[in-house]
Each structure stands twice: as C-alpha cells, then as structure tokens.
Symmetry: C2
Subunit: 239 residues, 2 copies
Amino acid sequence: MNDTRQHKALLFDVFGTVVDWKGSITRELTAYAQNHSLAEVEWEQFAIDWRALYQPAMEKIRSGDRGYVRLDTLHRENLLELLPKHGLTTLSDEQIDHINHVWHRLQPWPDCLPGMYRLRRQFTLCSLSNGNIALMVNMARHSAIPWDAILGSEPTRGYKPQPQVYLKSAEMLGLTPQQCIMVAAHNDDLRAAAKLGFATAYINRPYEYGAAQSVDFEADESWDFISDSMTGIADLLGC
Amino acid sequence: MNDTRQHKALLFDVFGTVVDWKGSITRELTAYAQNHSLAEVEWEQFAIDWRALYQPAMEKIRSGDRGYVRLDTLHRENLLELLPKHGLTTLSDEQIDHINHVWHRLQPWPDCLPGMYRLRRQFTLCSLSNGNIALMVNMARHSAIPWDAILGSEPTRGYKPQPQVYLKSAEMLGLTPQQCIMVAAHNDDLRAAAKLGFATAYINRPYEYGAAQSVDFEADESWDFISDSMTGIADLLGC
C-alpha cells in the first residue's frame, strides 16, 4: 500500500483540506460589510452556519429527491435562507451574488501551496471536491492552486461520498483507484475512497471549524499517509 | 464584438492550433522505430493517415450510430487499422499502447507557450478539444501548457462541432458564449462556435498538414481576432 511508485495522481478534497473556508469567508465578509455599511454580523458564525446547510442541501440530490444542480446554486439557496437570520434583509441581487461567490475566492492554508508545488513535479494533481467547475477554476486562479484538472462533483454529476464521484474521476484520468491517492482532512471522505480501492492521505486540520469542530481531530484509521500539513505529505511521498 | 473587456475566457482547439501533431508524431515515432528496430515507415505519412481516420471515427458517434467513447479509444482502433497498412504487424500490446499515447506527448508550436503565459494573466484558459481528459492532462504536463480546466469533448460527452460541446463548456465556466473567445486554426471550428454566440480568434497554421494541407490557408471570414501566432493573439487582446 505504501509503494508510492504505483501512484500517479493525487485527488484532493478542497474545502477544509486545501483552503480555509471559515477564515477566508470571515476575513473577506468582515471587510465587505465595513466597506458597504452592512448591519453588524458575527461573520465567523455566519460562515459556520452557511457551511452547516451544505450537507442537507447535497443530501436531497444524493437521495434522488432532486436532480443534479451545481454547488453554486445550493450555496445561493442556502445564503438566501441565512441572510435574514443574521439581520441582512436589504441586500441587492448583485451584493448577494458577490457574497455567494466568496467561495470562488477562498484562500489556501499556508502550508498548501509550498506542498502542492513540490507534489506536482511527481504527481498529477486534481480537485475531487463537491465544488463545481467555475468555483474551482476561479478559486485556483485567485489563489494560484496548481490543478492539472478539475474533477469531482460536476464532471461526474454527483456529490461525495457517492462512489461514482471517486470512480469516474479516476477513470477520467485513465487510472485505476489503486493508482490514485485521495487527500483529505476528513476521515469520512477517506473511508469512502478507501472502500473503492484508493490510497489515502490524511492531513490533520483540527482547527478547521474553530470552537465548533466536533470531528476530525485526528486520523481515525491507519491511513496510508498521515501528516499535519501538505508539506508533510510531500515529505512522506519523497517530493 | 471587439470589446475585449466583456471576454473572460479563451477556449482553445488543441490539435493543430496549440500543438503540432504531425511534427510531434513524426519526430517521436522516427526515434522510437530506430530504438526498437521496427520496419521502415514513412512516419510523416503515417501521422497524416492516422489523422485522416479521426473525422470518420467521430462521425459515427455524432450521428448516433455509436455511444460516446473517448478519443483514446478511437485513436487505438484507428491505429490497429493503420499498422498493417504500413507493414507493422509484429508489435506487442505494450508497444501499441505506447504508440497510441504519442497523442499524450504532443508538443506546442513554438509561439504557443509564450503567448499562452501572457494570455493567462488576463483570461481563463481552457481546452475545448475533442481529446479526452487524460490525453489533455498528460499533454499539458508533458509540454507545460497552462490550462485552468480541461473542458470540451469528455466533460460534455460529445464531439465538435456538436453544439453542446461548446455551449456546455461555457456553462461549466459560469459564462455565456459571448463572454468566451474560441481560438482555433480551423475555420469550421470557428463557424460552429460563432453560430452559438462565441467570439472568435483565428490563428493561421497553413503548414499544419504540410504538403497534404487542403483547407485553412487563411481566415475564410472576418473573425474577431486574426493572427499568425498565439503571441499575435496576445498582442491583439492587449496582454
């Protein structure tokens, strides 16, 4: 399992693993609210509440209750539900779109780019996220994330942990699951990938949710590679 | 039409526009045949004959006679048809796979990377090719082509000039056709894109096929941007 010569590609979870969604949203929307004289909001709590609506929204699609729609759409629906709860009732459509696209401007954890630019010399690097293509492309351009391809949810028309999202992503690279390493800060994501034959790399991010964190304080299982950082994963893979 | 501020993304034809398939295949297979003591073959003619089987193979899929299969599969079927005609009857499966993957190792025209690295600062750059994802990813890694995303045939399950290949690619970027510029060395490709609302950039490659060239000696229509090189397109777009 730890023979790295057979591995050709690293497939990455993105929200929480590569980028700091809570910190990025809090920082950007705090500044935006000040510049646009919006009502006072606890933006870190806002980010956490927004993220909490993510799984139930995807679950309707995973269960078949709803056809596939991309994450930008789910994020906007969830945002419309959330804004009045935080006292924001007078935003224009343009402001709502701008806030919704904060997900396109998330910033990497400080260890990510140094690690990924080392890893890319040896491995193909692809996103295997529930984020849609435009979101991932714009984020990569905003934050200099060196993807070789955007895979995951939209090209495979599903949401993790549905098996097709992992399997079709590997297949689109012309690879078997055994030739791919799934990289994530979430034990559940790795469990789903491992069950399908993927190798696994866990990056510990016990600070992803701040005080609201309830899971993923450490590796739950003996994943193939375990580290506290992307540079640590690069070390383990000999890059 | 020439207001470049509205344009957000450049979508590129690849074979012939970005990479020199004939020259790359000829160079690589000439060396490969020498190193492996293969029968003597006119490799430039071989490349042209292989390429000639491309349109009829895709046409079966466009017409609905056959379900979608990726270009790697069509290339291999065409290769199996071609090899005996050129006197190559004793290749191993491994050798055939290696030769088939020469398309994954095509090299850009000399003007392409200098132009594309300038263009990417201002525009999102995506492939909109009939090549499949693995082919495009491996080619980009081999030749340092800076794609933001691999779109086109495989993510949209079609072959150009089918409209969905262009329209769904733009939609995956969250853009209208009017916000995208199709870049190609082939007038037909630009005609199909223009009909759907895309802006158009023509790069003249009258030497793509060598002596076998029969079309695309010049711009047939008044495309929005016309140049002899990718760097010329970057000049026209103010990059």
